[in-house]
Amino acid sequence: MLRVLDLACGRGGAMLVSGVSFSVPTGESLILRGPNGVGKTTLLRTLAGLQPLLAGSVDCPTEQSAYASHADGVKSQLSVAENLEFWAQVYGVTGIAAALRSFDLDDLRGRMAGTLSAGQKRRLGLARLAVIGRKVLFLDEPTVSLDDASVRLFNVFLRDVHLSRGGIAVIATHIDLGLDAPTLDLTAFQASADALGGRDAMFI
């Protein structure tokens, strides 16, 4: 269970969104929406513990969470399998076969990651998530550059593997993923331009 209460977060010293509250029960996911620049990426990074909260509280087992962004953490000089094996070792798990299969990477397993196409590289980034098996996933535009078949692979993974095993996912996206999950539009929580708070509030 991920519970967020009255959260505020921002970038560059200014508050972007405030008063965000939601909770995601185990086995369910939440889709974040909102126009460009509203603060989806910022919110996800805050939830994942990569930047400080400005207010409110997040009740989430951080040592069970993983964040995935546009940069996939893929080493171009390692093969697809080597990349996944490395992350498996870091997280102390074994077996990358299932992840390779989920994202249709079996044919590419020996290929250097640097020679993959945009969508193939993205699939590798998603397969990393399948390998490490974290319970709470924060995904920033996971299906960018993916074709329809790959988006379906992702949906199947999310529903049948991740969520069905009691996982939680918060996903920011602009594209309709075809998932049936509640949506949260951040537009409603935009902090007004002159909101008090924010890191630099005491200077004003």
């Binding site: 990569l50 400080p52 953490g73 080493k75 490395f86 070792q89």
Partner: protein
């Protein structure tokens, strides 16, 4: 941590990974020295210990910016920061990988390059031992500098500026050991001091580096 170390070593030996480049740079700088100061053997012998140490320093320095920058650019670093591995271990693994790919080869090659500069016979042992004891501190201090500048694109030059002053004690004791060796004096004090610097750096700097990394990933 072992996983990270082996991955880094494997990456270093891949195409474009830069293994051996530090060594080659060391060689080239040593070759340039006679072009700069002239071919007089007496002068060269006189400045040989210092030149070897300064060249080793620069070679270590030049490979520093690969330590974190590549992982930062492709996003691995944020992922490692959220992985079940304390950031201090990440830093240690990185420093160890840097030492194994740069410090150790430099130490092994230095005696051979000493010939080129007419290094005194008695200076070989202190030079070798000094590098062996001193290069770990170069890698650890360098990892700290790399952690400070990791968010900056192509921060290599800035990093040199931050790191080189920190290298001064190591350089002084290292070169002093080799020079004392050449003059037939006792070298235990500078060598012990070198070892002490490396030990202290090993004990303290990973925490500072991990803090800097955390700040930079914020």
């Amino acid at each position: 941590m072992i996983a990270l170390l082996t991955r880094d070593l494997r990456l270093a030996t891949r195409a474009g990974g830069g293994f051996g480049l530090g060594l080659a740079f060391f060689l080239i700088v040593i070759v340039l020295v006679p072009f700069g100061v002239g071919p007089d053997a007496a002068v060269l012998a006189r400045i040989a210990p210092g030149s070897l140490w300064v060249a080793a320093l620069l070679a270590a320095l030049l490979s520093l910016d690969r330590i974190f920058a590549l992982d930062h650019e492709d996003g691995s670093l944020s992922l490692l920061a959220t992985a079940p591995l304390p950031l201090e271990s990440v830093v240690l693994a990185k420093a160890a990988a840097h030492w194994l790919t740069t410090g150790v080869p430099l130490t092994l090659a230095a005696p051979a390059l000493g010939f080129l500069l007419h290094l005194e016979g008695a200076a070989y042992a202190p030079l070798f031992l000094g590098l062996l004891l001193g290069t770990p501190s170069l890698s650890l201090i360098g990892t700290f500098g790399a952690a400070l500048t990791v968010g900056l694109r192509r921060g290599g030059l800035l990093m040199s500026l931050l790191v080189l002053p920190l290298y001064v004690p190591t350089l002084i004791f290292g070169a002093e050991a080799a020079r004392r060796g050449a003059a037939g004096l006792d070298v235990t004090v500078p060598l012990m001091l070198l070892g002490a610097i490396s030990a202290a750096a090993l004990a303290a700097l990973p925490f500072a580096s991990a803090y800097a990394l955390r700040v930079n990933l914020r």
